[in-house]
């Protein structure tokens, strides 16, 4: 389904596209992504003028507005370096939808070029960095929620779990219906709040019932949704972006 992607050799430098949710709500996750990459000897360039990939408007049907915002990002990556995105959702937008969004515009080629250099963080750590991790934390049962965009749009169901599997003291517990959506879906959670709530309730329950003491995800939309729900119901299980979790346990 997902076309086979040929991975480049490990580069000296990469760009980081931090995403607006990380910028505003989970900046530590962005910084931990930088730390993980730098530990691998890769220089991380963070273009200061980045804002948002445009996805909220795109999925809401406001494609002109999405295109303008996306256009403002296209010029931020002039060097032919990989662009690392610590989110499958924004990564999917930039890799899959940018070419279509700019089809027939003067920026079409540029959009295709940017799209071809997009890597989701865990994808890059596994397939390009071939990251080796040494676990320094204690025993812990962890559940992973891979975002639907990472899983289906980018075809990355395995990269997050592959990284967690390297942590010797961490037991990755399997939830029921682990491939099912958590119910965030951007504006979906706002337009259909009760349906979204029913979905996140089931997801939280599945994580708890799996015996997880902690949960990680590679997308801050899911993190805000599931983590927010777990906190709301007074659960002991806290969530964290996978970049922060990996850094915390291995540094």
């Amino acid at each position: 389904m997902t076309p086979v992607k040929l991975y480049p050799p490990r580069p000296e430098r990469v760009y980081l596209f931090g995403t607006c949710l990380i910028d505003m709500f989970f900046p530590e996750a962005g910084l931990d992504a930088v730390r993980l990459l730098e530990r691998e000897g890769i220089e991380v360039v963070y273009p200061d003028n980045q804002t948002c990939c445009g996805q909220p408007a795109y999925t809401s049907g406001y494609h002109d507005e999405a295109r303008e915002v996306a256009r403002a990002q296209l010029g931020l990556f002039p060097e032919p370096w990989p662009i690392i995105v610590p989110s499958g959702s924004c990564g999917g937008m930039m890799r899959k939808h940018y070419p279509a969004l700019f089809a027939g515009t003067p920026e079409e080629q540029q959009a295709r070029d940017v799209a071809s250099r997009i890597f989701e963080l865990t994808e890059f750590l596994v397939h390009v960095c071939q990251l080796k991790l040494e676990d320094k934390g204690g025993e812990e049962k962890v559940a992973m929620h891979t975002s639907c965009s990472a899983r289906r749009e980018m075809g990355l169901a395995d990269t997050g779990p592959a990284l967690l599997a390297q942590l010797g003291q961490v037991e990755l517990v399997e939830q029921v219906r682990s491939a099912e959506c958590c119910g965030f879906g951007g504006t979906f959670a706002v337009r259909h709040p009760q349906v979204s709530a029913a979905m996140v309730e089931d997801k939280s329950q599945a994580i708890e019932q799996a015996g997880a003491e902690h949960f990680v995800t590679s997308d801050c939309g899911c993190l805000m949704n599931i983590g927010g729900h777990l906190a709301h119901r007074g659960s002991d299980v806290a969530g964290e972006h996978i970049a922060s979790y990996l850094w915390r346990r291995t540094s």
Partner: protein, 476 residues
Amino acid sequence: MSQPVETFTPQQFHRQSREALANPQIRANFRKAMDGLMDKRRDAFAEWQLEELRQLGANIRLRALAHLPDLLEQLEARCEANGIRVHWAEDGEQACRIVTDICQRHGARSVIKGKSMVSEEMHLNAHLEKAGIEALESDLGEYLVQLNEQTPSHIIMPAIHLNTDEISDIMHDNTGTERTRDVDAMTAAARAQLRERFMAADVGVSGVNFAVAETGTLCLVENEGNGRMTTTVPPVHIAVTGIEKVVEHLADVPPLYALLTRSATGQHVTTYFNMISSPRREGEHDGPREVHLVLVDNGRSNIYQDDELLDTLRCIRCGACMNHCPVYTRVGGHSYGTTYPGPIGSILMPHLMGLDATRDLPTASSLCGACGEVCPVKIPIPDLLVRLRREAVGEGRGNVPGAGSKRTSKEVAAWKSWQWLATHPSAWRGATGIIGKLRGLAPAHIGPWTEYRTAPKPAAVPLHRLIKQYRKEGRS
């Protein structure tokens, strides 16, 4: 216990889905049924090269659609040559009139029906009733929802919203069947009730799964034998189908059939596969004296005009998108208020009913992509949902009926403001910085979000500044 027919409308999706979510019985019935169907599908494809088969299915449907006008003419010519009378209907109303006219010409008082979603789409039963003709559903699930004055909640399993106890009650209350939890006993009772009706029916009405252009053959996929009875016992058989159901070659059918049964119910084969190629011929002992085919457009040729929306017409009506949809699984089929519920309904019904009536359906998806992942003919359902969202909030220039009906100046202004901010990086950084500084004032309650979740708290230092601090501190 049950809702009377026509209570559900797409305009009321929000209310209907809320009510369904609050009904533990509906939640449990759908969850259990959909979990089972997902497992069965996965197992049925386990030893197949699924991606290759899906691509083959997609290619067959794309090829048929590419030549749709020619194939329809060929289908008509071959059917007529076989003795099948072909009728064209521009909309549901006209299709109903054609069927009713045929019935009246034969003095029909009772019609037995095989399962047909197109007949649901055109509200055939109500139309026949007005003409004094009784229409009885013979598919077991359809029979139950008809007894209960409901509409199907799933395109393959119409009574999937009902559990054994509810079915027992319906059979008892409407047919006097003794209450039981024995499914075989209930099935036997329904079978006996229907058997008499097959014998007495003047006309049989069925749907069509694949109409083969090169041979003029109508293929009908079913499990209960009611399709075969409907199309062979009464003296007249009328098949109704959407114009998109045509395929070019007979050889196109086996791959589509393989995909259909496994995607729908996880079956390797169905109990019956009917190929209808003519009325009873000289010297034959059974079969209808007349066979009619009604080809229904009902908005489909309008979809056909658009290169992207055209993909909607690939659908072979397996229902896998519903079975795998986290929204459908929770709100059930009736919440959508449309003939076709779930993801396929949300991309098809706007064309049939207009985006004004169905405005809340394209947004009733988290775009998780599960539907597109399992679609046997690879319809890019999430992309089409986004396209319809765009039509709904656009300036109404598209050719989807009701385009622009969801556009509000307030929402347009909100997105324009967002656009301005996100295209002015220094203003963006200023705004995120201010939000961070004022985080103490962040509201603890933000609409429905915080009914179910804690409010997200803006970070004191956004990533933009955090990275600068980190660089200054010498990468500690």
